[in-house]
Amino acid sequence: MLTVDRYRCGYCGACVGVCPEMALELVETWIEISPECVECGRCTKICPTGALELSDKTEART
């Protein structure tokens, strides 16, 4: 599952631009993740701050 560390995120929207599924949205100063996410990992790779992470954990999204 994809999570975003909003304390690390620089809210630049680069992840939104590479998302092939339109699953991300930059809202004010945070990133929202929608259920369309297919966990392809493009956004985690290109995030300039390293704020996005794919994991197996089922913790609540922050």
Partner: protein, 392 residues
């Protein structure tokens, strides 16, 4: 709420389009999802003096500094100087984007456009035939439908307007530069020159820049090609660069961002929809500069919108003149520079060093990017064989 045209995004592309359409008497609404237009900046803020002056009369408050030229540094430290009037598109002025973007939005407002901040487009409204009928927006927490004859997407790297209209604008990792930038105070800043540092260690598939903003302040940043990026690499590499090369630098601001370097995308118009600026991927793939192309596209889109509305043909075919106009003007250079980016992002440090060495005996001080490439190809015909058709 109803209008002729709704513009999504109040950056340079959106504001120029809004202003031009309002001046032609159209009822224009421009949305900005942020609370503050222009902030946070996602830009190194360099722009050509002549380029900007050809589009608008710059307010002195928009300009942080004027520079005399640019210096390019190869991985081994070999340096080349380009003078200001010749160093291509991206130096001359270093802007204060927070003020510049607001200034352009203000011009649009003065021309009659209505601007709504903290208003985010959620989706397109649909006509019975499926084409765009405006946008559904969220304004200060409340849903607001804005009906319009035409939607202009000026919504940047994270654009949604095109995708809602069936244009796939998603960027492949190899077609985005991901960047980090510090505003630094550093006695080592040369207030008169923009500097570019190349090297696969310091900025894989990109470069480090230092753009002076006056009084020893500078935008010091770097871009990494997405396909060669690791999570968090831009910020990590920038910190490392600062530690190793700028021990005196004091960081007073930090920003990050993504720059489209995909070259021209397949189409930028759909029925009742046009895309401008970064959302149309019109930023320059080799320099990463996007301000002037965005402004030019905004003007072209505004002109075409006015004609299409008075003709009553807002179909993709009716909006095609915009597509044709930008492709035969800014599009040509964007396409050429995409090829160059594809080539240069593959070069090893040794390749970059030897290319820079080959020019050491030449006087490059009066050359622009194109002239420099011509000389480069002449001096390195084998190595640069695949670029021979790009420089005419």
């Amino acid at each position: 709420m109803r209008c002729d045209v709704v513009v999504v995004g109040a950056g340079p592309a959106g504001s120029m389009a809004a202003r031009h359409m309002a001046e032609k008497g159209l009822d224009v609404v421009m949305l900005e999802k942020r609370q503050e237009i222009g902030d946070p900046v996602r830009c190194a803020e360099g722009v050509s003096k002549t380029g900007l002056r050809s589009l608008t009369d710059p307010d002195p408050r928009w300009i942080a500094a004027e520079v005399r030229g640019a210096r390019l540094h190869a991985p081994d430290g070999t340096t080349m100087v380009m003078s200001e009037d010749r160093s291509g598109n991206e130096v001359g002025y270093v802007l204060e984007r927070k003020i510049f973007d607001r200034g352009l939005a203000m011009q649009a407002a003065l021309a009659g456009a209505r601007i709504m901040v903290k208003t985010r487009a959620l989706d397109l409204l649909r006509r019975p035939d499926g084409s765009a009928g405006g946008v559904k927006a969220l304004r200060f927490g409340e849903v607001l439908p804005i009906e319009a004859d035409l939607v202009i997407g000026a919504d940047g790297v994270e654009s949604k307007v095109g995708r809602w209209a069936g244009i796939d604008t998603s960027l492949k990792p190899k077609d985005i530069e991901v960047c980090a930038q510090f505003l630094v105070y550093d006695p080592a800043v040369d207030d008169d020159y923009c500097e570019f540092f190349f090297g696969n260690d310091i900025a894989p598939g990109g470069y480090v820049w230092s753009f002076p903003k006056g009084r020893k302040l500078a935008n010091l940043g770097l871009g990494v090609l997405g396909s060669r990026c690791q999570p968090g690499a831009p910020v990590r590499l920038l910190r490392q660069y600062l530690e190793r090369n700028r021990p005196e630098a004091r960081v007073v601001e930090m920003v990050v961002g993504g720059v489209p370097v995909s070259g021209p995308i397949e189409r930028t118009v759909a029925d009742r929809v046009m895309l401008v600026g970064d959302s149309a991927r019109q930023s320059d793939p080799i320099t990463g500069g996007g301000i002037l192309n965005a402004m030019k596209a905004g003007v072209m889109a505004g002109d075409v919108a006015a004609v299409a509305i008075s003709d009553g043909d807002l179909s993709a075919a009716g909006l095609m003149p915009y597509e044709e106009k930008w492709r035969e003007t800014i599009g040509r250079q964007i396409a050429r520079h995409y090829q160059l980016k594809e080539f240069f992002s593959r070069q090893t440090d040794e390749d970059l060093n030897s290319l820079m060495h080959s020019m050491q005996s030449m006087d490059m001080s009066q050359m622009d990017l194109r002239g420099m490439l011509k000389v480069l190809i002449k001096l390195n015909p084998k190595k640069l064989w695949e670029l021979r058709n790009l420089v005419v």
